[in-house]
């Protein structure tokens, strides 16, 4: 059972899972870093991304390169929805206790979950891979679909792009400042309203993008929102709430735990993932690469 080919296969599948999760969890982490809101609705944005992408593919025709247009539209639509929710509702809760913010985002989960059921029904939906990424690479006796390879490349690219934005641009400087001290930033005259709305939109965009890109690999079903959000929480907590590279590391660890935990005994993976989350919270509450909050 533990022959090298099998191990390599598990490693690759863990890596693919990790990069999907990174896309989603990075948005969650960025939102927390700036807004200090733990967003349960992030999983719902991911689900909506998947459904909108499916809808677009139905309209534009499956098995064509219009898949990429569908992905982009889905991510943008979700980003817009995120910005609207933040501006209309969430921002009024910033001064309240965390419990109110948590429950608000949970209420959004309930509403969006039912809206999705109402619009797209409860049956499983799926989207075919775009023609340009059909087929698979044979490496060390393991079949790696080109689509998985694409995701494995996209994940690090997005991580690098974001870290460049954070470190090199003025918007990035604002974001880092907001993560350190929000009051000081607004006292210095920065327009934090736009910053928060923009950050929430970008985070939602990433969730929508993750949801849209996952459609050729996983079935689109109601309940995918609730499932993914817990996984994203694990990743973000392990890496450190608010830390981009922490989230990247957290996703890598989570993916491998999921892939290799199955060798211990079936069902061990899910237990190990939560145990890891608890262990990190106990030993280093701010995560492996995060910084303690003031």
């Amino acid at each position: 059972m533990t022959e090298p080919t099998f191990l390599f296969g598990q490693f690759v599948s863990g890596l693919t899972t990790a990069m999907f999760l990174f896309l989603i969890a990075s948005g969650l982490s960025l939102i927390f870093g700036v807004l200090r809101v733990l967003n349960f609705a992030h999983g719902s944005f991911y689900m909506l991304g998947a459904y909108v992408a499916w809808q677009m593919v139905q309209w534009l025709g499956p098995r064509t390169e219009s898949f990429w247009l569908a992905v982009l539209v889905a991510a943008l639509a979700v980003a817009l929805l995120g910005a609207v929710i933040e501006r209309l509702l969430l921002r009024h809760l910033y001064r309240r206790e965390e419990l109110y913010q948590l429950l608000f985002t949970y209420a959004v989960v309930l509403v969006l979950g039912d809206l999705a059921k109402f619009t797209w029904g409860t049956q499983q939906l799926s989207v075919p891979r775009p023609p340009s990424l059909e087929g698979a690479l044979h490496l060390f006796g393991v079949q790696i679909p080109y689509y998985s390879l694409f995701i494995m490349v996209l994940g690090p690219l997005i991580a690098v792009a974001f870290s460049l934005v954070l470190s090199r641009t003025s918007a990035g400087r604002m974001i880092r400042a907001a993560a350190l001290d929000r009051e000081m930033l607004s006292a210095l005259g920065a327009n934090t309203n736009w910053l928060y709305a923009g950050m929430f939109a970008v985070g939602s965009f990433l969730a929508g993008l993750g949801g849209a890109l996952v459609t050729p690999v996983r079935a689109i079903v109601p309940g995918m929102d609730v499932e993914i959000i817990v996984e994203a929480f694990i990743v973000v907590v392990i890496g450190g709430l608010g830390s981009l590279w922490g989230t990247f590391l957290g996703a890598l660890i989570f993916g491998q735990v999921l892939a290799f935990g199955i060798l211990v005994f079936p069902g061990f993976s899910i237990f190990a993932a939560f145990a890891l989350m608890a262990a990190v919270l106990i030993l280093r509450p701010w995560g492996l690469l995060g910084k303690p909050l003031k």
């Binding site: 733990l38 309240r96 965390e98 949970y106 959004v108 509403v111 509450p285």
Partner: protein, 322 residues
């Protein structure tokens, strides 16, 4: 008359005990559901309302209590009373172990760690087939032996569900009496001090963590009792009892009623379950309605039902005085 001096638990008990005779079977069913989950919500409020600790994993102790009672009575054939006693002990023990780590963290991290522990409990319940029945759960948990009621006047003619309602009501009433004693005891006052200002509480010599842990254990133990009762009422125990959405559900009940008062969570539970029954008769989109109610609540009535009534009464009184 000082309203607080009245034996409220006894009064509520005496009001509710008549339901099997005057209400329909359906109302007895609904009342059992409400009574048990009201205990669950009130146990959570010992953490949130009294101590100011927001737990996002309270379902863990509900689930542990449910499984403890179900395993003892169904798998091992022990009497109900043993299962009922074991539930708070086991749930409290787990709460002590998990809580030991949780109270070391603050705010969002506390919530995340309670969530992580609850998910561990859920994962174990889901995968430990030999003990918990895995995904299938444990169907048909036996009712307690209630034949002795046949020897009593009035009780002899009741159906088994109605007898169980009385059993649950008595157990819950005892728990409510205990919870009320705890909240209004010097210990409970200390918890309020910690909620209002943990730093200052520390300065005046209160061992904040120890008090928080004690509250966590007590809340867990009472949630365990609620779980044990609910498993029997539900005719089965399932891993979902410990899942995070269950923790969110009980938070909503607590918030809906009002975290600021002792009876708030119970009122919230009654309102939510009654509404659920009404609305699911018309539409399957209950979560949508619940989400909408929750959003309205968060923005318009952050004090919940009891909080809103309180504010209304105060305004009335002021107007009368003026």
């Amino acid at each position: 008359v000082n309203a607080r001096r009245l034996p409220w638990v006894l009064i509520v008990f005496l009001l509710l005990v008549w339901i099997p005779w005057f209400g329909s079977r359906y109302y007895t069913f609904l009342a059992t559901d409400i009574v048990i989950l009201a205990l669950f919500a009130t146990s959570l409020n010992l953490l949130i309302g009294s101590t100011g600790l927001v737990s996002f994993g309270h379902a863990a102790y509900f689930g542990i209590g449910a499984y403890a009672c179900a395993i003892l009575t169904k798998t091992h054939g022990l009497p109900f009373i043993v299962g009922l006693a074991a539930a708070p002990v086991l749930a409290g023990a787990f709460a002590a172990f998990f809580g030991f780590f949780c109270v070391r963290l603050t705010r969002i991290y506390f919530a995340m760690l309670t969530l992580a522990f609850a998910q561990i409990v859920w994962a174990v319940c889901l995968k430990w087939n030999a003990m918990t029945g895995g995904e299938q759960g444990m169907p048909s948990v036996p009712y307690p032996n209630m034949d002795w009621m046949n020897a009593l006047p009035f009780l002899a003619g009741l159906r088994v569900g109605e007898k169980y309602y009385l059993v649950a009501l008595v157990v819950v009433a005892v728990c409510f009496a205990l919870l009320r004693m705890i909240v209004y005891s010097p210990f409970g006052r200390m918890l309020t001090v910690i909620r209002e200002n943990p730093e200052r509480a520390g300065f005046i010599g209160i061992n904040v963590r120890r008090y928080e842990l004690a509250a966590f254990v007590l809340a867990g133990a009472f949630a365990g009792v609620a779980g044990a009762l609910f498993g029997i009422f539900n005719r089965g125990v399932f891993p979902d009892f410990a899942y995070w959405s269950k923790s969110a559900e009980v938070l909503i009940m607590t918030l809906l009623g009002g975290m600021g008062s002792f009876w708030g969570p119970a009122v919230g539970t009654a309102a939510l379950l009654w509404l659920h029954q009404q609305i699911t008769a018309y539409t399957q989109f209950w979560p949508f309605i619940l989400g909408t109610i929750l959003i309205i609540l968060l923005f318009a009535f952050p004090g919940g039902i009891v909080g809103a009534i309180d504010a209304g009464l105060t305004r009335l009184r002021r107007r009368r005085r003026a």
